[in-house]
């Protein structure tokens, strides 16, 4: 799970896009998913998600994301079909409209979750920060705060996994099937996680300061983030996705 957020190096088409274009692409897919009300179009968008994963060379990650979302999707799906009463009865208390509505909700959830995670997996956080500062003129301090938060996610997840392992070693049964019970057991562990996090964040801030954090400005970046023809193409794809969602 934790390597989902870890950067995957490569030289795919997606890697060549401007970091901002990649984020735009992810946002556009999400937007299209929420605008569109057509079941087939939604299925198409999900396919597009997987295509992005394939293009970026992280199809495996896309699949495991999909797998991870499946559990919660099934739960949502069942909840939906049990509560929607409109439409013709198909089976027991389940109606055709209920089935369609449930499918749409679940599809939207999956479509919206996958692309952002995928784009983060193929985008270096520092590139994103640099591009935000250079191209979008975001003040470095804000860009740094956002990117640091993202950078710490895998570290925290790793830390949490290690803490849970340490607790398992002393006999706390995390392998229970009862989800609520598991959450109850995890709560006390937030204390060590918090203590470590505060210490870490402070150390990270001191280290960044020592290497001239405060001196950084828009012209500091050594790497440039120009827009290429493929970025233009990607923007067109974004526009097409949203237009398609509105029309169909």
């Amino acid at each position: 799970m934790k390597d989902l957020f870890q950067y995957t190096a490569g030289d795919s088409v997606i890697h060549k896009l401007n970091p901002l274009t990649r984020i735009l692409l992810a946002v556009a897919v999400c937007a299209a998913a929420f605008v569109s009300d057509n079941l087939y179009y939604l299925v198409g968008l999900l396919c597009f998600d997987m295509l992005l994963g394939l293009l970026a060379g992280v199809f495996g990650k896309a699949l495991s994301l999909l797998k991870g979302l499946l559990k919660i999707s099934i739960f949502l799906f069942i909840l939906q079909i049990l509560f929607v009463r409109k439409g013709n009865r198909v089976f027991w208390i389940i109606t055709d409209q209920g089935l369609i509505l449930a499918a749409k909700v679940v599809l939207r959830l999956m479509i919206a979750c996958i692309p952002l995670a995928l784009m983060l997996a193929v985008t270096q956080i520092s590139d994103l920060a640099n591009a935000l500062v250079q191209v979008a003129h975001v003040p470095y301090k804000y860009a740094f705060t956002v990117t640091t938060a993202i950078r710490f996610i895998p570290q925290f997840m790793e830390e949490m996994a290690d803490i849970m392992e340490a607790q398992t070693a002393r006999g706390v049964e995390f392998d229970t099937k009862n989800g609520l019970k598991k959450i109850g057991m995890m709560l006390p562990l937030c204390v060590p996680l918090l203590v470590t996090s505060v210490r870490r964040t402070d150390a990270a801030a001191a280290a960044a300061e020592a290497r001239g954090f405060e001196l950084r400005n828009r012209t500091s970046g050594y790497k440039k983030y120009p827009f290429h023809w493929c970025d233009l193409l990607a923007v067109l794809v974004c526009a097409a996705l949203i237009a398609g969602a509105v029309i169909i």
């Binding site: 520092s126 001239g212 970046g221 050594y222």
Partner: protein
């Protein structure tokens, strides 16, 4: 290069000073080791050397620290850090980027190194640390020892006059630890970079450092050339600093009247000394 004049520092919100009345002179081009039991104030002293104390960690600061004729209290932290590059204890939180190359770029960009000079500086740092092959690797794919080297490279790319390291081998195995110290030795001898290193592994310090400072309970217990300090092996053990086994052997042999000076700093020396005695 660095002179510390009766430094006392107490962190905000703390009831006791972390370091008390420290006076120390670190010569240009030296290789300086700092050792002491937990809570001796080693990390605080290191922070004071590069201005992080009192600029980032606030508190009551008495006395003075002068780095390259800059008073650390009156100067900006970034100006001091350019002279004294620090490698922090927790490498994980020091590393900012996800790829080695970007990690090196970070400091260079911030300090406004002219872009045409950047390539050369990166080559220099990667080559000297011996990680040229790791340039495009992701940090996540590196071992602990390799990460430590990346942290060192990203600091020496800034060409500091002093390299300050806080327990750089804490998480490393004996082989990688020796490698890191070998690297420090090269930087010291080849480029005259002053090395100041906090370290628990006394064996490494006695072999590589030229001078040693022993701290205890926030105060300076003693300091001087490694041999002089190791002569006080018994006292050091009392405050919780162990000695290399060959140093203890030297003390024993001295007591038996077999060895004139009660100090041996590595196995080579011990071998030579014993051979003289028995053949």
């Amino acid at each position: 290069m660095i002179s510390i004049e009766s430094l006392t520092f107490q962190y905000e919100g703390s009831t006791e000073p972390a370091v008390k009345d420290i006076t120390l002179n670190i010569e240009d081009g030296g290789f300086f080791g700092i050792i002491g039991p937990a809570g001796a104030g080693k990390t605080t002293l290191a922070r004071a050397l590069c201005g992080i104390v009192p600029h980032h960690y606030k508190g009551d600061f008495y006395g003075s620290v002068t780095v390259d004729s800059m008073d650390t209290v009156d100067s900006k932290m970034t100006d001091i850090c350019r002279v004294v590059g620090m490698v922090f204890q927790d490498v994980e939180s020091q590393i900012i980027s996800s790829v080695v190359e970007d990690e090196l770029l970070y400091g260079l960009e911030n300090y406004g190194i002219p872009h045409e000079e950047i390539e050369e500086r990166m080559d220099f740092a990667l080559r000297e640390v011996g990680i040229e092959d790791l340039r495009y690797r992701t940090i996540a794919s590196l071992s602990g020892g390799q990460r430590q080297k990346v942290a060192i490279a990203s600091v020496i790319a800034l060409r500091p006059k002093v390299l300050l390291l806080d327990e750089p081998t804490g998480e490393l195995d004996p082989g990688s630890s020796r490698q890191v110290f070998g690297l420090l030795k090269t930087l010291n001898e080849k480029y005259g970079i002053t090395i100041v290193v906090i370290e628990q592994k006394i064996m490494l310090l006695s072999e590589f450092a030229k001078e040693l400072a022993v701290m205890s309970g926030g105060s300076m217990f003693c300091h001087g050339p490694v041999r002089e300090v190791l002569k006080r092996a018994r006292e050091l053990e009392e405050i919780g600093v162990n000695c290399p086994r060959v140093a203890s052997l030297a003390q024993n042999l001295h007591k038996e009247g077999l060895l004139k000076t009660p100090v041996l700093i590595n196995v080579d020396e011990a071998e030579a000394a014993v051979r003289r005695l028995i053949s």
